[in-house]
Amino acid sequence: MNIRDKKSVFELRSRVLQCVRSFFIDRGFIEVETPVRIPVPALELHIDAELSDGKYLRTSPELHMKRLVAEGYDRIFQMGPCFRRGERGHLHNPEYTMLEWYRAGADYIDMLVDVKALIAFVVSEIHGRSALVYKGREIEVMPVWECLTVEEAFLKFAGWNPVKQFDADRFDCDMVEKVEPGLFLNMPVVLKDYPAEAAALARCKAGNPAVAERWELYLGGMEIANAFSELIDPVEQRRRFEECAEKRRGMGKEVYALDEDFLSAMKKGMPECGGVALGIDRLVMFLSDSVEIDQVMAFCV
């Protein structure tokens, strides 16, 4: 498709950006901009950063935004480019636009309330009602959302329980091949309570350390957002980073240094908070009934 034919999609995309901004501004959030070129990217097992003249392009604004939360910024959001090396597919482009927001005093369930209001607001602003058609299916975004625990979803679609016995390879493959195809319903779907081994930067449940307070949102079967009750314990955070570094070393991947500025900010005291990362390109795909991420980007480099 040539760029001329994409004009209606870009008009819609522009309105989506405005809707998202006014949604957060109206709720007392401030929009922040944190560095795109950073000394060290967040350590994640399966996310690789692009090098940029001795620094890295951020894979997410997460660690800088949490430093702001630790400094007393209790409601912040940011929309901007993020970069992930080697990620290219019909839902992936190595450069893409991410929305992240953090709220002090909130947990992952509070963040679910936020995202529900955001999606309902954006869909009705763009389409004039709370439903739209995606890939031939009418999807109603209010008021009922399907909410499944990872355990329930895996027992239902893959026939095993990753919370009881985790197997990373099997978990990732079955997620893509068995679970996700079952999440395309006529309403938004939330997958929550991930196995602790897949916690990333989420804290574990107080009464159940085998499960992390993390959810993922699916719209039209497409993963749109990831949320945590953020881990705020600096000792546990360091332990997770070190374990991740060790695993990356074992996989022959580049091992990034620990972000000591982030760790010391956490050590000084970080309030309980919830955070969400949401892919703007995929949200625009959902709103414009597009099946390829290229359809909602002006140029794919």
Binding site: H46, G86, H90, D169, M175, V176, E216
Partner: protein, 189 residues
Amino acid sequence: MYTSSDLKKGLKIEIDGVPYVVTEFNFSKPGKGQAIYNCKLKNMLNGSTLAKTYRSNDKIDVPQLSQKRLKYSYKDGNDYVFMDEDFEQVIMREDVLGDARYFLIEDIAVDVLLYNDKPMEVVLPTFVEKKIIYTEPGARGNTATNVLKPATVEGGYQIQVPLFVNQGDIAKIDTRTGEYVDRVAAKKG
């Protein structure tokens, strides 16, 4: 050795001593999880297909292929006969050739990939010119380029062409996509 991140449509790989070409390729990555590469592979020896899933750190063998410039001569049943410069015949079966067979023109020179001296694949020129042997007449005076109609070219291949293209015209076709690019000559007379 390739790793899974080298996978893309058209890449040639080797599994248990058999060369395959990636015909379909889908990258997915569950949140925070590893990359999953779902591939459809075509066995380059017999044309059969295989679905295979690779994960982010998988290693994949590289097939040892050689390349030879050959001239396409003629078709004999399901066999397509090529000739090298010493007039030695090289035969490729229809199922191994795939869609490339539609774009062969007598005496056209092509590069053929060989695996243990067996022909696997022809590398066609990017563009070929083919005569349109059948298409419905378009509306008179319609020069729009965004409305398309089906047309059949010599050899039986079907393409979509703009309405102003007529039976007997010569069409330029991109062999990578199989799509109409341009009309190089209108029917004479």
